[in-house]
Symmetry: C2
């Protein structure tokens, strides 16, 4: 209204003065707490409009001890920071990341919350993230922790920060988490491959330091053994497409008569597909390929990937809901929500 509007944001005090009431009443109207006379309510609303008042959230969180922010922590393995690579490049390039973000937004949309993104890809970054959280910059944390010996979940627990994990930690913690039944996923892949009559089968696993990767592999191995196949060529990959290419190349050289491959994620399966195309192997006729995740990579190339679906978006949304629930009702026991993998049958197997 006046020229001072330019220099200084208006405060509750200003609104109260304009409306001719006390600060407390304005606060009541804004937060919808207790009964306030309709006429006064209207006067306050007009005063707010006239002053262009916007509540200051720092002041608010100082007293409420709530920030209205949730952290989404990507706690990867310690990434070597090469000069030509950008921070977290490989993590963010993975469709998995986008799916998690999408799911988190789905869970957050109903409320007025926004995630603050943190990358904890080194001991230093982890400490900073922890400090940041302890300073009360966020009300809680959602942690996508890949590496088994990641200390962050335990640290968050110790710091008393409400936390939900994407993926179960290797040793149980009293933290809530959402996860996929990865072992079952591996089994599904094995069953499908053998049902298709494949018996000379190999696996491209994820990094064995990652629990999900281990579970997928052991589920696959178990089911294969159930089908009488005990010899299982195996190459460890790092979940990137490039590594899928490398793994497939090495597999092809060592076991030229392979007729089936299970890759622990779609990106590596895509890499395998590319190498197979280079070698003029027909998929699925000569060699069947089955991926994992059902990410956008599955239908990016030709043939479309048959894959074990992991409903990442749903899982991330659920993780968000669980965290919100913990914030709403503190002191509730930790829960684990396990999702079931499903087979998505396309062309590659």
């Amino acid at each position: 209204m006046s020229s001072e509007a330019l220099k200084r944001a208006s405060t509750l005090e200003d609104v109260a003065r304009v409306a001719g009431v006390s600060r407390a009443t304005v606060s009541r109207v804004i937060n919808g707490v207790r009964n306030v006379d309709p006429a006064i309510q209207e006067a306050v609303r007009q005063a707010i409009a006239r002053t262009g008042y916007v509540p200051n959230s720092a002041a608010r969180s100082l007293v409420t001890r709530r920030t209205g922010a949730l952290a989404l922590v990507i706690s990867g393995s310690d990434a070597p920071e090469t000069p030509d690579h950008h921070v977290g490049g490989e993590i963010f390039a993975d469709p998995f990341f986008g799916r998690v973000v999408s799911g988190v937004f789905t869970g957050l949309r109903p409320l007025d919350l926004h995630p603050v993104l943190m990358l904890a890809d080194s001991a230093e970054a982890r400490d900073k993230a922890l400090t940041y959280l302890r300073q009360g910059n966020a009300d809680g944390a959602m942690v996508v922790s890949t590496h088994s010996r990641d200390p962050l979940p335990a640290q968050l627990l110790a710091a008393g920060i409400p936390t939900v994990l994407f993926g179960r930690p290797p040793t149980p913690l009293s933290l809530s988490c959402v996860d996929l039944d990865n072992r079952e996923g591996g089994r599904i892949a094995a069953d499908h491959l053998t049902a298709r009559g494949r018996h000379r089968v190999a696996a491209i696993s994820g990094p064995l330091g990652v629990r999900a990767a281990r579970d997928r592999l052991s589920g696959f191995r178990e089911a294969m053994a159930d089908h009488g196949i005990h010899q299982l060529p195996h190459v460890e990959g790092d979940f990137t497409r490039e590594d899928g290419e490398r793994a497939m190349t090495s597999l092809l050289r060592r076991y030229p008569d392979l007729d089936g491959v299970f890759a622990a994620n779609d990106l590596m399966a895509q890499g395998a597909l590319a190498v197979l195309a280079d070698h003029r192997r027909r998929v699925p006729e000569d060699i069947a390929v089955i991926g994992f995740d059902d990410s956008s990579a599955a239908t990016a190339g030709r043939p479309h990937l048959t894959t074990v679906r992991q409903p990442v978006e749903e899982m991330a949304a659920e993780m968000t809901r669980v965290l919100l629930d913990h914030l709403a009702r503190p002191g509730r026991a930790a829960t684990t929500v396990l999702f079931e993998p499903t087979l998505i049958e396309r062309q590659s197997a």
Copy 2:
């Protein structure tokens, strides 16, 4: 230390008491402001360690008027929210998003800052984002605004929120921005295609409501005209792989003798490649394909895409630096940083 550590976080006051100094002195030590006697400094540090003190950032920002958070706003076109789709699914699935995030982290890493992610994909979400920013939840905003008539940049300017844009707005605003010389990128694609002897060429553009898409197309058209080619079949896509497939299919039906295609991003080029494979067209022998971006999609399939590189990570990092600069020195004039596209020659053209 004591049992009260459990119930109440320690404050400056506590540290001061333990160290036997005043609050002000503790604050000085923590913030490294003014000279403090080394002995006292040490005493304060020990007191901090003993009390497990962590500064409360809400209290701090209340007085400093700084939050230490920057917003990364993805202000897309109004997305229809279908029940089966997750929020922002397509945006987050695009490698572009991950590259932006990676670049932002690169720019933020040196400081202790984390981006808070906001999705402004509807008028309502935009209002919420604006409100959030006006409440002082972040010190500034980085906006990836795609759609031409997106009102958000102007609103942020009006609200006096330090803002940097990824991509120039259609009508100049006094906001800083980083962008690619998209027109030049289109030209590069045209020059390369004609240098390869392709004359029956078509374009798959991005949505013409997006300035970058328009610029790429007009640059391409201009250069083609320079080479004597004035007839240019054109299909508008929406930057997704699926739409690339759809566009290529339609192009192939209408112009079966095409020998070159320019797709305005790699995702659509990848879709085109898949359709060409389905039609048994050899790339690049029968038909050359050139993409745009040089994202991970470029080398995902076979053949590898020849593409016009947009250094998204560098651009996002620069956007972050520009914003930090504006925050450090308020009142500086808005700047525009223009990046040059480069040709990355691979197999598809």
